[in-house]
Subunit: 211 residues, 2 copies
């Protein structure tokens, strides 16, 4: 019985290391999957293609993921963390309304440019979730967190101009998302002014959202 209560018994430590290794593999495979997905879109991405963009063979995907839906769900979740990490922190450090508008407009334009393919994938998956039950819940969760992010911006702006938000959060999100989506579409189509139009549009729309 001696030291059976020791929580760092060799067996436990090895089990933990194993679990960590598995998590790491899953993350790596999900990264490869996101790469392929953002390039080809959901409809045209096969498991073999994903595996070819990774260091492994196609069979290993079913060792780490139950099936294709499990993998894609995991990818969506991973994308979400990537997403909110990027977005957060834009709002925090603004001292004046103008600063905030600048920061938000610039932040959105920057991520649109840098992560254009990931955003394209996001809109793809969001649309697919309208047809496929599988990852609807995860998509809805991301949508909600994006809406809350926009809403934090509106609240911060309202505070800085000494007014109150004058619209529901869903209205703010819908209109700004519409602007972002259109800008992405034009940016991908090669329109040189897409980013500037987005900046101007976001500034204008945010300004009308407070009383």
């Amino acid at each position: 019985m001696a030291r059976r209560t020791d929580s760092t018994a060799p067996a436990d430590r090895s089990a933990r290391r194993r679990a960590d290794r598995i998590d790491e593999r899953r993350r790596a495979l999900a990264d490869a999957a996101l790469l392929t997905l953002s390039e080809l879109g959901y409809a045209r991405t096969s498991l073999r293609e994903i595996a070819q963009n990774s260091a492994f063979s196609h069979g290993v995907l079913h060792y780490y993921f139950r099936d294709k839906v499990d993998l894609i769900t995991y990818c969506v979740r991973q994308y979400k963390t990537h997403c909110v990490e990027r977005y957060d922190g834009i709002v925090a450090t603004a001292a004046s309304p103008e600063d905030l508008l600048d920061g938000v407009a610039e932040g959105l334009a920057a991520t649109l440019e840098q992560d254009a393919l990931l955003h394209r994938l996001w809109y793809d998956l969001r649309t697919q979730s309208l047809f496929e039950e599988s990852f609807r819940a995860d998509v809805a969760a991301i949508d909600g967190s994006l809406e809350r992010m926009i809403w934090r911006t509106v609240e911060a702006y309202a505070r800085l101009v000494g007014a109150a938000p004058a619209c529901p959060p869903s209205f703010a999100y819908a209109t700004v998302d519409g602007l972002f989506h259109q800008a992405l579409q034009r940016h991908l189509a090669g329109a040189a002014d897409a980013l500037d139009v987005l900046r101007a549009g976001v500034r204008r729309q945010l300004a009308t959202l407070v009383a």
Copy 2:
């Protein structure tokens, strides 16, 4: 040489009738395809499934359409005419700004409710066109005509309140489309207030678009 110049020679008439019949078949098949597409989405719709929702067998599709892309392109074009026909005429008969806002809000809410699946398909195809070159041109054409439709509304509203539009057409379209897309998403998810939220949102947004 006698009547070789007669434009209604039997051969011509028969050729014309044949062409008409072909057009009719193509329209019927495209209708069946639109039915299936709007139910399953682009990614999950196969030619066999389309044929099963029609009165014909799957082989006939390649008699009237070169390939799948040709069929879907034809569907997209057909959807466009269906779309603008529906939309047009909302704006024309408004006497006061309030009338116009009512009419537009109600018109958008009505088509969202009645043609929910078709609109879902539209967003699906628009997203697919970000990945697939094939029907990008047709999608862009529809997008443009929708933008012009919204813009006509803005202009009419501005005229009625005696002001000028105070934003670019693309801004008006992006924000209203964002509202419409969100409302569709919530409506399909079963939210009972989706239509009312859309009505309120559209009214609010349109009102801010003129000086």
